[in-house]
């Protein structure tokens, strides 16, 4: 079994940041990085620039100057991936895509790991159920913020889905294809290494590993997530308030 390194595809080695970005499979061949005219249309229409210190025009400039300091710039993590910059850019450049590659490069160097903390368990959940779930800490926060009506709704979800004539939340995946694909494309190694380095760095807020996995009823039986025997969804633990 050949082991696939995600880095080879998302952040291939290059002489400069720009070379890596252009060679990454995240960006199209037509990317106009070198064609940037520093017009600022991206920054003018960027929500992150409007509400935070982030500046996509400047980011592009720094990338073209091969200033690796961009990887340590915390504003890199403010982008919404809304692609407004890409729409407006007259040179077919895409700060949104640049940020995607730069965040991967930063993570490779152990920078920004704390931003990944809530999401590292998504792959395990996906492998087990074939769907994605919003991170559990968020469910907990929503329960806090929205109070009982939302908690009730979450409990009644299976009944509501049944009333709407909708099937199981879990997909049918007898051959465990999703797990195989995540394994085969190197996802679990990547998630593991991020988790290990996060722990090492001490940047973790102390969220229990896999906490959100533990919160899923019947997590080992792929058909069990939506309906418990009594017809009610027991719900993630954090929702029991």
């Amino acid at each position: 079994m050949t082991l696939i390194q995600i880095d080879e595809y998302d952040t291939p080695a290059g002489k400069s940041l720009a070379e890596t970005i252009k060679a990454s499979i995240r960006t199209p061949d037509s990317l106009g990085l070198d064609r940037c005219i520093q017009c600022g249309a991206c920054t003018a229409s960027c929500p992150a620039a409007r509400f935070t210190a982030y500046n996509p025009r400047l980011l592009v400039k720094r990338v073209l100057e091969n200033d690796r300091g961009v990887l340590e710039d915390e504003t890199l993590w403010n982008c919404f991936y809304c692609y407004t910059c890409q729409l407006r850019c007259p040179r077919n450049n895409s700060p949104a895509k640049l940020v995607q590659v730069l965040r991967q490069l930063a993570l490779n160097e152990g920078i920004g790991l704390e931003n990944m903390e809530h999401f590292l368990g998504l792959g395990e959940f996906f492998a087990a159920h074939g769907i994605s779930q919003v991170p559990e800490h968020y469910l907990g926060k929503m329960a806090e913020a929205l109070g009982s009506s939302w908690v009730e709704f979450k409990r009644d979800l299976p009944a509501i889905r049944a009333e709407l004539g909708l099937g199981s939340l879990d997909i049918r995946d007898e051959r465990k294809e999703i797990r195989s694909i995540l394994e085969g494309t190197g996802h679990f190694e990547r998630a593991e290494s991020l988790r290990a380095r996060l722990k090492e760095s001490g940047a973790s807020e102390g969220i229990e590993e896999n906490k959100f996995l533990n919160a899923i009823p019947g997590k080992n039986k792929s058909e069990d997530i939506n309906l418990e025997k009594n017809g009610r969804y027991s719900g993630p633990e954090a929702l029991i308030v």
Binding site: T84, I131, I178, I181, T185
Partner: protein, 314 residues
Amino acid sequence: MKKMEDIPDRKLLLFKSCMVSQEYPGIEKATKYLFDRLGIDYFVSEEQSCCTGIGHYVDLYGQLTTTAIAARNFAVARKCGYPNIACMCSTCYAINKEACELLNGNEEVRAQVNSVFREKGLEDLVYAKGDLDERTNIFHVLEVIFSKKELLTEMTEVDFSGLKAAAHHACHYYKFRPEDMIGNPENPRLIDGVAGACGADMLRWYEDRSLTCGMGFAQLHIHKDTSLKVTQTKLESLRKAGVELLLHMCPNCHIQYDRCQPVIEKEFGSEYDFVHMNIAQFAALALGADPYKVCGLQTHSVPLENFLEKYGII
């Protein structure tokens, strides 16, 4: 630019969305209701998985993983004989389009994805160049509904005249692939077209019409204050415009507006008297669908009862 005639109404795989399924299942039911009434040939597969969108855009999944998962879903579409993918979520739409383009245009990626399938004994998932076309096989559900808007006008039963509504089009629909949408990306009007056909009075423009909803994938989690600030800005501009209803086309925006509106009211000390709906829920309501048993409006956080009473629906 895509033309309305290019939108298929046969052999559509209605592509399930994780956030629709778990937060607003009425969007799926309302879409099916509309497709049935409009005579659209579609299929829902139990085998289709999440597109990876959430994980992809919180920087977790690599592009190869995302592309391989998409290739599996394309195989599902092919095998069931419904190769026209119609997405309810704009991120599913963007992810599938991009993965399809990569699989067709990048030989190395295609070979690598296929070698993973072969090594795992999943030969039937192998993707051959051109199996699907990113432009002519992948759509947003709204495009399908929009292409039938004349029929909607004929079939509308509820009188929505005088309803002042506004549209929020999804970033991952019109900003990500502007060359691939119906209409002008600087002024998308698909939602307006459908709601207008059902009798709503659509606001032509409002201050922050093209601003993102604020969810921003990781942003809602790692920079919650900024995320809610963006949403609040949007809500404020809608308040100033005096709308009763905001219509959207993506469950992520829907969560951000409907779930977060009460949170924003608390945190920012503001009050909003408008409600939220997906455009499919609204069009189904217009055609006489049950607000709860079809549109699933009981799953919303901003209650819609006053709105439904006002238009004689309940």
